[in-house]
Symmetry: C2
Subunit: 309 residues, 2 copies
C-alpha cells in the first residue's frame, strides 16, 4: 500500500492544476488546464475526471496504483460532507457534492477542501510554516485567502470556513466587498484593486510583476503602492496577531513577489501596532512552495485521510 501514487488537484478561477505524486510526494507529472474552457459546473467536473484518467494513463498506471485524489476548491467547502458551498470567482456552483460526484465518476478515493486550507497544510508540512505551533498562511491574488494552523494542525472552524483573513474588515466604513461585507482587506489589496490603483497613479496598465521590479529599482510611485498594500495587510495582521498570538505568518500568492518592500512594511506595522508580547513572538516569512502548494496540499490531504495510507 505504501508505494501508491497520489493525485493532487488545485482548482482556481484561472487554472485547473493537476499533479501525480509518488508516495514520498515527489512530483511525477504536472498538467495545467484553463478553467475558462469549462463554462458549467458539470463540464468542469467532467474536465477534472478526464484529467485524472489522462494522468493515470500517460504514466502507464492502473486505478489500483492510486491511493486517492485530493482536490483544493476555490471557495467554502463543507469538509464533513465534501460539498462546495459556492465559488466567489466561478459562477454556477451552489452546494455541489463534489467529493461524492468525483468518487463515483473516477472510482477513486477523493477528498476535497478549501484551496487556502490546502496551501496552508502544504506550507506547514513542507514549507515556510514547518515546525510552527500556531501559524497563519495567506495567499494574495485576485482573492485574499487564508488558512490557520492551531496547535500544530489545520484548524477549519465550526462549519469548515475559518481562515478568511481577506474578509476581515480593516475599517468601520468602506467599499462593498464581493463577499457581501464592507471594507474587507480583500477589497483594498486584491489584485484587481491594486491594478486600479496602478492605473490611477501611472495613467496606464502595468502588470504587478513589473510594478515589483519598478519598486525594486526605487521608483517612488511603485514603492508607495507596495507600502500602501503592506500597511493595509499589516493592520489586518495586527488583528490576527493580537487575537491568535501565532509564532509564524506565511505569505504567498502573486502579490507576495513584491518582496522586501512589502514585507518590511508589514513587519513595521506589526511591530508598531501589535501588542508587545505577541509582536515579539511572531515571524513573517514568504511562502516557499509557490504554485505547487495547492497540489501538494491536495496530496497531503489524501495522505492524512485515506484508509489505504
Amino acid at each position: 500500500m505504501k508505494n501508491k501514487y497520489i493525485i493532487g488537484i488545485d482548482l482556481g478561477g484561472t487554472n485547473l492544476k493537476i499533479a501525480l505524486f509518488d508516495s514520498r510526494l515527489s512530483f511525477k507529472q504536472k498538467k495545467f488546464f484553463s478553467t475558462a474552457e469549462f463554462s458549467q459546473p458539470q463540464s468542469l467536473i467532467e474536465g477534472i475526471v478526464r484529467a485524472v484518467f489522462e494522468i493515470i494513463k500517460e504514466n502507464k498506471l492502473k486505478k489500483s496504483d492510486i491511493l486517492g485524489v485530493g482536490v483544493g476548491l476555490p471557495g467554502p467547502v463543507d469538509v464533513s460532507r465534501g460539498v462546495a458551498h459556492f465559488f466567489p470567482n466561478i459562477p454556477g456552483w451552489i452546494d455541489v457534492p463534489v467529493e461524492k460526484i468525483l468518487r463515483k465518476k473516477t472510482g477513486l478515493e477523493v477528498f476535497v477542501d478549501n484551496d487556502a486550507n490546502l496551501m496552508c497544510l502544504a506550507e506547514f508540512k513542507l514549507g515556510s510554516a514547518k515546525g510552527a505551533k500556531n501559524a497563519v498562511c495567506l495567499t494574495l491574488g485576485t482573492g485574499v485567502g487564508g488558512g490557520l494552523i492551531i496547535d500544530s494542525k489545520l484548524y477549519r472552524g465550526s462549519s469548515y470556513a475559518a481562515g478568511e483573513i481577506g474578509h476581515m474588515p480593516i475599517n468601520l466604513k468602506g467599499r462593498p466587498c464581493n463577499c457581501g461585507g464592507t471594507a474587507c482587506l480583500e477589497s483594498y489589496i486584491g489584485n484587481r484593486r491594486i491594478a486600479c490603483l496602478v492605473k490611477k497613479v501611472f495613467k496606464k496598465d502595468i502588470p504587478l510583476d513589473e510594478l515589483s521590479r519598478m519598486a525594486a529599482r526605487n521608483n517612488p510611485k511603485a514603492v508607495r503602492i507596495w507600502e500602501d498594500v503592506g500597511e493595509k495587510l499589516g493592520v489586518a495582521l495586527v488583528s490576527v496577531v493580537n487575537l491568535l498570538n501565532p509564532d509564524r505568518i506565511v505569505i504567498g500568492g502573486g502579490v507576495a513577489n513584491a518582496g522586501r518592500i512589502l514585507f518590511s512594511r508589514i513587519e513595521e506595522v506589526i511591530i508598531t501596532r501589535a501588542m508587545v508580547v505577541q509582536a515579539a513572538k511572531v515571524k513573517v516569512f514568504k511562502a516557499k512552495l509557490g504554485n505547487d502548494a495547492g497540489m501538494l496540499g491536495g496530496a497531503l490531504l489524501v495522505k492524512e485521510n485515506s484508509k489505504g495510507s
Copy 2:
C-alpha cells in the same frame, strides 16, 4: 483527595475577589477587597496571601484541606512559568513570578492565568459557552478582554497572549490605545470612552447602568450610544467570525448589561457584514456567570492542573 476545597482569586484593577469553593465548585465564602489599598506589587501580593490565610481560618480549615489556589491576573501571563508580564491598569508590575512567590508564601499549590482566559474557561465549563466547540468570550469593562475556546479547550497562543479582541484595530487610522496600538476596539468602547461620549452628548456624567435603563425606556440619545457601541463591537466580531468560524460568542462585563439594544445591533452587524456560512453558524449570548466568572475560572484552573485532583 476528592473532597478538598479550592480557592479562586480574581485580581482586577478595582477589586481583589477571593472565594472558597468545595470540590463541586459551590461557593462556600466570597470576600472582596479594594485593589487600591495596595500601592506596590509587594503589598498587593501580601494582601493576597493574607486573604488566603483568612479564608482558610474563617472556615476552620487546614492548609492540607486546600487542593490549590487559582489566580486570574489583569494582564498577559506566561502560564508556563507563572510570570505576569505587566498589568495595563495596575502600575509597577514587570515580569513578576507571581506563581512562584505565592507558592512560597502560602505553602499551597498555586496556578495563575490571564483573567479573561479564566472568565472564558468558566463560561465554557459552567456558563453560556457550555457545549460549544469553538467559542469567543469577551468581557467589556474598563478594558475589553477576550478568551478563545478552540476545539473544546482554552486556546492560549504561542506565548500565552491570545484572545486580545479589545486590541484588534477596527480602523486603519484612529486614536492611540493604552496598549501602544492605534484604533483598537478598546479605544472605542472601553468604559472610559463610553463615559466621555455620554458627557459629550448629555453634557453631564451618567453612570452606564443608568444609560442602559434610559435606553430601555427608549431615550433616543441613550439608544444611539449603545447602538454605536454595538456597531463597533460588531465590526470587530465580523473579523473574528470570518477568521475563526466559531459557533458561540459570549459577552460579559458591565457593558453587556446594556442588554437587548446592544446585542441586537451586534447580531445585525454580524448578519450584514460577516460571510454567509460563518454568520449562519454563530450564536451570540450574554455571559451567565457575571462577577463570579473569574473566581470560578481560577478554581477550574486548579481542578485542571493540580497534581492532587
